[in-house]
């Protein structure tokens, strides 16, 4: 719950460094200490209040909140279980002005022991939408499961019928399955060009779970399922600098061209300004223009760039690209409205 409470010396140092100016390295230190002080000890409400301050002058701004269930990733038990997090979020939302400002997505992990089959999983999910105001599903396959896990079939059928959006983590990063891979089952849909089952380290193996080509299998079964492949594969993919040379970016883009219900977002990726020209090119391309969503990945991205800077730099760049349309508004307002629209929410 409160890392800072457990290490008061670290807390004091963090506050000290946040105030001291170190010249050229000041901004880096400031961002890192801000990241630590935001994320490592405060409540969900305090974190949101810090974010909200960046948008005080922006009028009616709403925030998609992505819950995380990290209990099955093989890294031990978190301090507070997932249910505590969810109920706290519901109670926070019920206070003051939060109900309409916070749009929470429900994290689903098919490996939870209580989900003995897909029907039980779906029966657990539904009340969070029908009674407690959740408006989307969040998935993070990198934590150790495939998006086409058969336990998700009932959920996908329901989400497709209700047009509930599903957002998937789609970048290779530091949060991934940490448990043993010995005896990990072969995926139900084995894709040779994607699935290398000989990789023994979780850090490399996460590509098997996360690869965008996995979603062909999902969409073959549920072609109208509304999904977002978050992060657009990552900044290395957009600029073709990484080991995959842009293959993930191409795969996601290809899915968007072929399925109008497939979206992506630029959260976290936008901290690297070299991605701006590619993002702008897609925002001007009618084939995918209406399927790219704005996001920042607050507060994870705070260690790389400040929330306000991220938003302002991209907005300035995009708005300079087109005189007919306000591209930033398309990305941050029009497209999210379409993505979020379902039986449980409309804007």
């Amino acid at each position: 719950m409160n890392f800072m409470s457990r290490y008061p010396i670290a807390a004091s140092l963090s506050r000290f460094f946040a105030r001291v100016r170190f010249g050229a390295i000041d901004s880096q230190l400031e961002r890192v200490t801000k990241f630590a002080s935001i994320g490592l000890g405060t409540s969900q409400e305090t974190i949101f209040n810090t974010l909200e301050e960046y948008y005080n002058s922006w009028g009616d701004v709403r925030f998609v909140i992505l819950t995380m269930d990290m209990e099955q990733m093989g890294a031990g038990k978190p301090m507070g279980n997932y249910r505590t997090q969810l109920e706290e979020l519901v109670r926070i939302r019920a206070r003051g002005h939060y109900a309409n400002k916070l749009l929470p997505f429900l994290f689903v992990d098919p490996r939870r022991p209580e989900f003995v089959n897909g029907k039980v999983l779906l029966e657990w999910v539904k009340p969070w939408f029908e009674r407690y105001g959740f408006c989307g599903i969040k998935m993070y396959p990198a934590l150790g499961y495939y998006p086409f896990d058969e336990k998700l079939d009932d959920l996908y059928d329901w989400a497709e019928a209700e047009q509930v959006p599903i957002l998937y983590h789609c970048i290779q990063g530091v949060i991934h399955y940490r448990g043993s891979l010995n005896g990990y089952p072969k995926p139900r849909h084995f894709i040779p060009e994607v699935h290398n089952l000989n990789l023994k380290e979780g850090k490399a193996y996460q590509a098997n779970f996360t690869h965008p080509l996995n979603y062909h299998k999902v969409l073959e079964r549920n072609p109208r399922l509304k999904i977002c492949l978050a992060h657009y594969g990552g900044e290395e993919e957009l600029t073709r600098r990484g080991p995959n040379k842009g293959a993930w970016y191409d795969a996601i883009r290809n899915l968007m061209v072929n399925y109008k219900n497939v979206y992506t977002d630029i959260s976290f990726t936008l901290h690297d300004q070299s991605t701006f020209p590619i993002i702008a090119k897609d925002m001007k391309d009618p084939a995918v223009q209406q399927q790219v969503l704005f996001g920042t990945d607050y507060y994870v991205v705070q260690k790389d760039k400040d929330e306000g800077d991220l938003r302002d730099e991209l907005r300035a760049f995009l708005n300079a690209q087109s005189e007919e349309k306000n591209l930033f508004d398309v990305m941050a307002s029009e497209n999210p409205k379409a993505f979020l629209r379902s039986s449980f929410y409309s804007a």
Binding site: S5, I9, T84, R91, A94, Y132, G133, F344
Partner: protein, 330 residues
């Protein structure tokens, strides 16, 4: 016999003075790392972080009654009154299964929030609260915590009796955990005792030997000890070392340090003490051997220093009384 008594008195005085330093360091360190607050949190977390249900410890600490006790957002309170704890816990459990409902209104394009309702009367703390509390327990999955809460609720038929039960449980639990805390403190005191023993070369074996051999030193220390006891008796009678405010701790450390410097104590690092002790050529070897031979003395000193200044004061007073009662040889 009088020599033995004088040695004990002198030994007790030396270790009393250094114990003040050790206790003070330990208290200051505890304050910096907020050890008591963390310990209290861990004790509550052990019982109330129920992985089969929810992390009720987190809910207790974020309940406004307890949250307001925090000095800063990022710290835990050092102390939670049992009544405050009881009120917070009862409120959490009675609310536990009553999440507010949040439903989207497509006409207004906005969410409607319906807050939970409570059974019985809300205005007076009657049996409605006990009923809600029991319903909250009933809605939990079976777990050790559920069983504990069920047991605590036995026989409670109104808010006052329910609160009394919770308060009683909390007080009993805090008594038990304070024993664990003291055990942990002893380890910390030993650690600081070892640091002081090494920094100031407080070697218990060497000190005893010197006290036996050096009558002048012994007499001086005994005389000083009598004055010290007379001057400080009231302080040690009325105060527990744990409750001394920081500024007084620092003052006592400063005084103890000054007093130890003023007296000719058999402590400290002196090259002449470390060399030419053994019949081996070479200063480096001498020093290494000196250090190795000092290890048992330092460890005994560390243990002695962790005993606590108030305990050493009691020993000092007792042996001064014994010395006073020993008839001089005719």
């Amino acid at each position: 016999m009088p020599v033995l008594v004088d040695v004990i008195i002198s030994f007790a005085l030396i270790f009393l003075l250094f114990s003040i330093l050790v206790s003070g360091m330990a208290e200051l360190w505890q304050l910096i790392i907020r050890k008591r607050a963390l310990f209290l949190h861990d004790a509550i977390n052990d019982v109330f972080n129920d992985h089969l249900n929810k992390n009720y410890a987190h809910l207790i600490y974020t309940h406004p009654l307890v949250d307001r006790l925090k000095e800063k957002d990022t710290t835990y309170p050092h102390y939670i009154a049992s009544g405050t704890f009881a009120d917070a816990l009862i409120d959490i459990i009675r609310n536990d299964h009553k999440l507010p409902e949040i439903k989207f209104n497509h006409e207004r394009k906005a969410y409607d929030v319906t807050h939970a309702s409570y059974s019985g009367d809300v205005q007076k703390a009657g049996d409605g609260i006990v009923k809600d509390f029991n319903e909250g327990i009933h809605a939990m999955a079976e777990s050790d915590l559920k069983q504990l809460l069920r047991t605590v609720a036995f026989g409670a038929d109104d808010y006052a009796s329910l609160k009394r039960n919770v308060v009683q449980w909390f007080n009993d639990y805090m008594s038990a955990t304070s024993t664990w805390y003291k055990r942990g403190m002893t380890k910390m005191l030993f650690g600081f005792g070892l640091i002081v023993a090494l920094v100031f070369n407080v070697n218990a074996v060497h000190i005893v030997k010197e006290l036996y051999d050096q009558k002048v030193m012994r007499d001086e220390l005994v005389s000083y000890a009598k004055e010290y006891v007379a001057k400080n008796k009231e302080f040690y009678d009325g105060q527990k070392m744990q409750n001394i405010p920081i500024d007084l701790q620092v003052q006592r450390i400063q005084e103890a340090y000054k007093e130890s410097r003023a007296l000719n104590l058999p402590v400290g690092w002196r090259l002449k003490d470390m060399t030419n002790k053994f019949d081996i050529p070479g200063m480096t070897t001498d020093i290494i051997l000196y250090l190795l031979m000092s290890i048992p003395g330092w460890l005994i000193a560390a243990a002695a220093l962790s005993y606590g200044a108030d305990n050493w004061f009691n020993i000092l007073s007792r042996f001064i009384n014994i010395r006073t009662s020993i008839k001089p040889k005719e």
